[in-house]
């Protein structure tokens, strides 16, 4: 649906050049929700603004539904923008227009007649759940309601793509949830492709099918959201995931522990199996869960547990081996003293 090839955006000023986006290539598929995460200044906002040429890329290509946006005349570009909706962190509603007038403005931009405008605007407000606020002014609305109006405006001309520039960053967690739900609903009901940029990994976890992580203008990691959460490769990605799934064990507890502390990750298939109880039955070890959580990402379970295994060194090692054979990678955070000693003896 959206194909970005080797896109770069360089700002040149008297003070020198600043690279906003550095050689980014992305392929966003029809009907998916694609997230771009990064800290502020990572270039994600510039990237999304290049997707409807609000900023003209310095080099590279932006293909939207097979159309090369950079090659269009300003008139053709206006036409193309009508099928690319966009919402912003600051909502950007015209304060002197009522809610319904704000929505009909987008229709007017597309040359829709007065009667049709009224009809469609009402339908859109119904979709976002604001029919009763049609004749109010934006100043009378809450943040979440304003964002709903801007979603209605963005959807006015039946776009194929919706770009969300930090759309939930100015909202409280509860309102964020309701806006995300609405986006999800639009995505599944209208089959709309959604690109959203955010600094909140929670948002990605909640609704994105795939995501990319950006740092200093580059995409450092990209993939299926579940895979990214299950096995992040880049340090920055790991840090972002830690903001959502954090398993730091208090140091006191860590030092006091007598046994072997392991970090277990249950993904996909294994998440549903009773691995821990099997383990405790087959090996003479005691398991003590220090930390644990099962997250559901795209309806798939991702379980993370930190466990302390105590028992004879041989048994613990055996337990670890069988864990490794079912789970693959098992991270040992701390070896029990007895194991240290037995290893020392072996040497």
């Amino acid at each position: 649906m959206i194909s970005i090839e080797k896109l770069s955006k360089i700002y040149t000023s008297k003070e020198g050049t600043v690279i906003g986006v550095n050689d980014v290539s992305l392929d966003i598929k029809q009907g998916e929700i694609f997230g771009v995460v990064g800290y502020s200044g990572a270039g994600k906002s510039t990237l999304i603004r290049c997707m409807n040429i609000l900023e003209r890329p310095t080099s590279g290509k932006v293909m939207m539904d097979g159309i090369d946006l950079m090659s269009l005349s300003s008139k053709e570009l206006r036409k193309a923008r009508q099928s690319i909706g966009m919402i912003f962190q600051g909502f950007h509603l015209a304060m002197s227009k009522t809610v319904v007038e704000n929505v009909s403005f987008a229709l007017k931009a597309a040359g829709v007649g007065r009667v049709e405008r009224k009809k469609r605007a009402e339908k859109l407000l119904d979709l976002v759940g604001l029919s009763d606020k049609a004749n109010q002014f934006p100043a009378q609305l809450s943040g979440g309601q304003k964002q709903r109006v801007s979603i209605a405006r963005a959807l006015a001309n039946n776009p194929k793509v919706l770009l969300c520039d930090e759309a939930t960053s100015a909202l409280d967690p509860h309102t964020t949830q309701s806006i995300l739900k609405l986006l999800k609903k639009i995505n599944s009901e209208l089959g709309l492709t959604i690109v959203l940029i955010t600094h909140e990994m929670e948002v990605v976890k909640e609704i994105c099918d795939r995501c990319a992580v950006m740092e200093e203008g580059r995409v450092v990691e990209e993939g299926n959201t579940y895979d990214i959460f299950a096995a992040p490769k880049n340090d920055l990605t790991k840090r972002f995931i830690q903001t959502v799934i954090d398993f730091t064990i208090p140091e006191v507890l860590f030092d006091k522990s007598e046994g072997t502390i392991v970090h277990l990750k249950f993904t996909g298939e294994t998440a549903g199996e009773a691995i821990v109880s099997d383990l405790l039955q087959h090996h003479k070890v005691r398991g003590n869960i220090l930390h644990g959580k099962v997250d559901y990402i795209q309806n798939q379970a991702l379980g993370t547990f930190v466990m302390e295994l105590t028992g004879e060194a041989k048994e613990v090692r055996g337990a670890l081996n069988s864990l490794r054979s079912t789970l693959g990678d098992v991270e040992v955070l701390k070896n029990a003293r007895s194991i240290d000693q037995s290893m020392a003896r072996a040497e």
């Binding site: 193309a80 923008r81 950007h92 015209a94 403005f105 007017k108 801007s150």
Partner: protein, 220 residues
């Protein structure tokens, strides 16, 4: 005192009408020419949808040029032009030529600065909707600054009342002319005070009406 006032009345009435003519013509021209000029200055600004460095700087320089000439000098400077246009340089209509020339850039700057107060994001959202520049000006910028435009017109009107006194002094007529002819040249304090009071009342009324109108168009 009443006798004095009755004696003065016909002259006062005539002057009042003359001032009214000068200010009204100046205002109408300011609105017709200054408003588009101000919008042009705004939309050609850097990072805006009709960004144009050349148009922006050329119009900017012209506007500053006119604004930097003291009004009394502009008045005399424009005599040949007024003469060419109307065949005369006296009377309120002739005076309104230079008043208009002064009012256009004055109002244009006010329009520009009120447009600058618009949240750029709103304009950006309109661009993202695929709206044409004309639609953005007409349907976003204009309604957003309507109340500011009226306040600006009030400020312009009051400045024009002041300027009209100067224009009057060199052949334009009006209240200012009356004040100078009787009050200043003839040391007639009564006329002086009467005209000053009249000017004060005029300014108050204009401000009051302007505020009322600005408030009534304000939405949201």
């Amino acid at each position: 005192m009443l006798d004095q006032l009755i004696n003065l009345w016909p002259e006062l009435n005539k002057s009042f009408i003359e001032t009214l003519i000068m200010v009204s013509i100046g205002l109408v021209v300011a609105l017709i020419a200054g408003l588009p000029l101000g919008l042009l200055l705004f939309v050609t600004e850097k990072d805006l949808f009709l960004e144009n460095k050349w148009i922006k700087s050329v119009t900017g320089v012209i506007v500053n040029l006119v604004r930097s000439v003291p009004f009394i000098i502009l008045l005399v400077f424009l005599f040949p032009f007024t003469n060419l246009l109307l065949g005369t340089t006296t009377g309120p209509v002739a005076a309104s030529v230079s008043l208009s020339v002064a009012a256009i850039p004055f109002y244009a700057r006010i329009v520009e600065s009120s447009a600058r107060d618009i949240d750029r994001g709103v304009i950006e959202a309109a661009i993202a909707c695929g709206a044409s520049p004309w639609l953005i000006i007409k349907d976003i910028i204009f309604p957003e600054i309507k109340s500011g435009l009226i306040s600006g017109l009030t400020i312009t009107a009051i400045s024009l009342i002041g300027y009209s006194a100067m224009a009057g002094a060199i052949g334009g007529g009006g209240i200012g002319d009356l004040a100078i002819r009787y009050g200043y040249y003839r040391y007639d304090n009564f006329v002086m005070f009467t005209t000053v009071i009249l000017l004060i009342v005029m300014v108050q009324v204009v401000q009051y009406i302007g505020d009322l109108a600005a408030k009534s168009v304000k939405k949201g």
